[in-house]
């Protein structure tokens, strides 16, 4: 009987594992935010000079997205990374705009950097709340 009672407790703990804080997830998100700030700081230059660093940044975001997909009950974080990749007002769309327009204006560099920081902070804040 006692063993039967322990089973649902264990099941509950396992099912909530995706809502536990992950130092790796937090680090990935903060690293990407820092990396994005550096890449965007170059956006007044010709895109062609920065294709490698843009490619690396995109790969890191994809990697973070895939990592989050492996965690159970992690719908909000997964959806936020998806937004970073797919939304027409988020990081990937900004990098595509830079590529299409060859270079961005100085004012856009400042404004978009602030926006991307705010957007990525949503992911970081949620992970920090899992502590």
């Amino acid at each position: 009987m006692k063993r039967l009672l322990l089973l649902p407790i264990l099941a509950l703990l396992v099912s909530c594992s995706g809502l536990m804080y992950s130092a790796q997830s937090f680090q990935m998100a903060t690293d990407i935010k820092a990396e994005a700030a550096i890449v965007i700081s170059h956006s007044t230059d010709s895109f062609q000079r920065h294709t490698n660093e843009v490619g690396l940044l995109k790969a890191h975001v994809e990697s973070a997205y895939q990592h989050e997909r492996t965690r159970k009950l992690n719908h909000a974080t997964i959806a936020m990374w998806s937004e970073v990749i797919k939304s027409n007002g988020n990081l990937f769309a900004l990098l595509e705009l830079w590529e299409a327009k060859y270079r961005l204006t100085g004012a856009m560099k400042v404004e978009s950097s602030r926006q991307i920081e705010r957007l990525l902070n949503s992911i970081i804040d949620l992970e920090a709340h899992k502590k």
């Binding site: 006692k2 009672l5 322990l6 649902p8 407790i9 509950l12 703990l13 909530c16 809502l19 009950l73 719908h75 909000a76 974080t77 959806a79 936020m80 937004e83 939304s87 027409n88 007002g89 988020n90 769309a93 900004l94 705009l97 299409a100 327009k101 961005l104 204006t105 100085g106 004012a107 856009m108 404004e111 978009s112 926006q115 991307i116 705010r118 957007l119 949503s122 992911i123 804040d125 949620l126 709340h129 899992k130």
Partner: protein, 108 residues
Amino acid sequence: MDIQQTLAEIEAQVVALASQMSKRFRDEAIADGRALLVTIREDLTRWLNLLEAGEITADEFQWLLNSSKSQVKMMALRQAGYAALKTKKFVAAIGDIILEAVLKAKQV
């Protein structure tokens, strides 16, 4: 471009997203949404001035505008995440109560 109309659209989006949440977290989400709207209002005014001064292009302005909408969506997702965390803490507390009761029964 009509800033008031754009803000009204964004505000409607915030309220619609918040209304999808359980009542317990709705008020909190709406409060966060309203705070975000203040920031967005300031941003839109600044971006419009930059556009009119020719300091940003129309395409850049469009991305910035879209980024505000993305911000609203990310805020709603973060709120949904917070709600799930609160539920998790509630479930864990129940687990503790059951475990304590089981351990107590074992001692008897």
